[in-house]
Amino acid sequence: MDRPRVAIFDFACCEGCQLQIVNLEEELLDLVDSIDVVEWREAMTETSHEYDIALIEGSITRAEDEKRLEVIRTRAKTLIAFGACATMGGVNMLKNNFDLADVKKCVYGKSANMPHLDTMETKPVDAVVKVDYKIHGCPIDKNEFTYVVRCLLMGKKPEIPEFPVCVECKAKGNPCLWDYGQVCLGPIIRAGCGSRCPSSGFRCFSCRGYIDNPNTTAAKDVIEKHGLSVEMLKSKMVLFGTGQGPTNA
């Protein structure tokens, strides 16, 4: 089989997920042996219109970016959204909680109406084009990234965890952060990160999005047991995108 041609594109984001690809370090040198990277603006000068796999980082915030993404979709056989901005809008979705005119005025003051400063409601990639695979997280986990790429190279469907962060956290034997007064979203958020944040003593803040069928009853029990309000939980839940899946908490 020929090496698949891969192009990496970024939209509104911090480029931290691309950095995780660079952070593969020695492994990246092996990776570029098995795939043919034809465009990656952050790391290479070359560009190409011909590729098999398009990796999309970032969320969509301008009409011109929607058009660019649609063109990429027509050229790519497989399109992967990677990172929370691409998979569910990410922190950029916080903007949608405000009136857009107010948002522009807040940042650009008197200049807010200059055309090049325009913006629209933040959208995840799958609100604009069909997405074949999603690599979750803010930033993505570099090992999950290579796992997904390896699956694609072998023609297999990647298996992404359907269980919550609590499962990984408990398996590590971490003390539960709820017992230390933290509002941790581990009970309803998708695992696969190795419960990195709770393992460092920091509450899960939902960067991988909700699991498909969160046990909201159990989550409410946890909140009540610790004398906290659902409202308090909600303020923590919106950080990475309000439209990120089913939840009735």
Partner: protein, 443 residues
């Protein structure tokens, strides 16, 4: 000489974020010469409003993937100043060590992956793997070491999860610090190998000078080559120090049509921030190995060749490694205390108050300011950030205007390459730079 020349670099590559270079020469006359920033603005200052002080770092860390630790620390310092939280000496030192990890990671990324291909005439680092495998592997090794170091202290290499207002959720163990110290001692020869490789191509660094104002942090108590404490200084105020709270008076931001990022000026029509600015303001306080490295490259205080910023970053790599080795000795001699968030100390600094505060930290690419105002519940009322690359945009434009007439006799490809190299030498972080604001704080 070119009678007619058109260069349109739409999205310069090998930089963080989106920037364009536009040159139009018609009948021998430069009609248009612009450094443009078309990056999609993200409006962080607007988005953080209403969020609790405990959640601000999670949001604003995402301003930049490459300098997420710097943003997290600048925000946390501003929050602590606003609501009146004190940080222990130990937490303070460990935070600086976390910041150093990011400086080293970012500097090596820039020197090795983003800038080096220009000097070797390569389009990216990939072809260099075959041409100079040992050097590339050494660069990868030092980059990996810096990331493992950030991961050890920050919980992840990007978007750290141990920084909380008032301290840190946890600190590494003494054993882990000792291992880190040994690893850093072991990579000194690797850093020297990278320096030798850079020195071998130093002849390709363009000979260009344009005097400008250099702005950075300066710390006098105790005198330190600072990335974290101190006030604002500049080469135009002869070593004087302006308090961080007055940063609006030093970074006078304004909107221009060619950019979604604001520009800044202080005493002149532009100023520069970054490694060269820090070097020019604080050279005397560099570590011995760093001074040796500067000497090898002929980098002296007062240098006003922007292309030498990359060399100043290399010099700082030595300072960071050498200084960290010493700081770990200090931490271990005093003995590590358990101040983790699981130790029962819920709120190390006491109760919170409504208020407003500013924090500044040196990002790898220059001084960064964050400022917040909170109500008495600790919810954010207003925010303002001033990003280093913003502060460099006007200076890049001014450099363009001096450089282009000096290189007009060169080929179009060479002109284009020199302009691109100039932008890259600032190590711009453009995603970062498209947020800032004119906010009216409630007095």
């Amino acid at each position: 000489m070119h009678d007619n020349l058109n260069i349109n670099v739409h999205h310069i590559t090998r930089v963080e974020g989106h920037g364009n270079i536009v040159v139009n020469i018609n009948s021998g006359k430069i009609e248009k010469l612009q450094w443009q920033v078309p990056e999609a603005p993200r409006f962080f200052e607007a988005m953080v409003r209403g969020h609790n002080f405990q959640d601000i770092q999670i949001i604003v860390s995402r301003i930049c993937g490459i300098c997420s630790i710097t943003h997290s620390l600048a925000a946390t310092k501003a929050i602590e100043s606003a609501i009146g939280l004190k940080v222990s000496e130990q937490a303070d030192i460990v935070r600086i060590l976390m910041l150093y990890a990011e400086q080293l990671q970012s500097h090596v990324l820039h020197i090795g992956y983003l800038a080096a291909p220009d000097f070797f005439g390569a389009p990216s680092v990939v072809p260099l793997v075959a041409r100079a495998p040992d050097v590339v592997k050494t660069i990868v090794k030092v980059h990996r070491t810096a990331n493992e170091w950030a991961n050890l202290i920050g919980g992840r290499p990007t978007h750290p999860v141990t920084i909380i207002p008032g301290g840190l959720t946890r600190v590494p163990t003494a054993k882990q610090f000792k291992q880190l110290q040994q690893t850093l001692k072991d990579i000194i020869p690797d850093a020297k190998r990278i320096a030798e490789a850079v020195l071998s191509i130093a002849g390709n660094i363009p000979n260009f000078e344009r005097p400008t104002e250099y702005v950075s942090l300066k710390q006098t108590e105790p005198p330190t080559y600072t990335f974290y404490h101190g006030g604002i200084t500049s080469t135009d105020i002869k070593g004087a120090v302006v308090p961080i709270e007055k940063w609006h008076e030093t970074a006078n931001e304004y909107v221009v049509e060619q950019s979604t990022a604001k520009w800044a000026k202080w005493h002149r029509d532009a100023y520069a921030v970054g490694a060269l600015a820090r070097f020019n303001n604080n050279y005397e306080l560099l570590s011995p190995m760093a001074k040796d490295a500067a000497k090898t490259f002929g980098l002296v205080k007062g240098c006003c060749n922007p292309f030498m910023n990359t060399v100043a970053q290399l010099v700082e790599c030595f300072h960071i490694i050498e200084t960290t080795i010493g700081m770990i000795d200090g931490l271990l001699t005093k003995g590590l205390k358990d101040e983790s968030c699981l130790s029962g100390v819920r709120n190390p600094g006491g109760s919170i108050k409504a208020g407003r505060g500013a924090g500044a930290v040196e990002a790898p690419r220059g001084i960064l300011f964050h400022e917040y105002e909170f109500d008495k519940k600790g919810n954010c009322v207003a925010a303002d950030m001033c990003i280093p690359t913003n502060q460099n945009h006007a200076n890049i434009q001014k450099d363009f205007e001096k450089l282009l007439p000096e290189i007009l006799d060169q080929s179009q490809n060479d002109i284009r390459l020199k302009l691109e190299m100039l932008v890259r030498s600032y190590d711009p972080c453009i995603s970062c730079s498209t947020h800032f604001l004119d906010v009216k704080f409630v007095k």
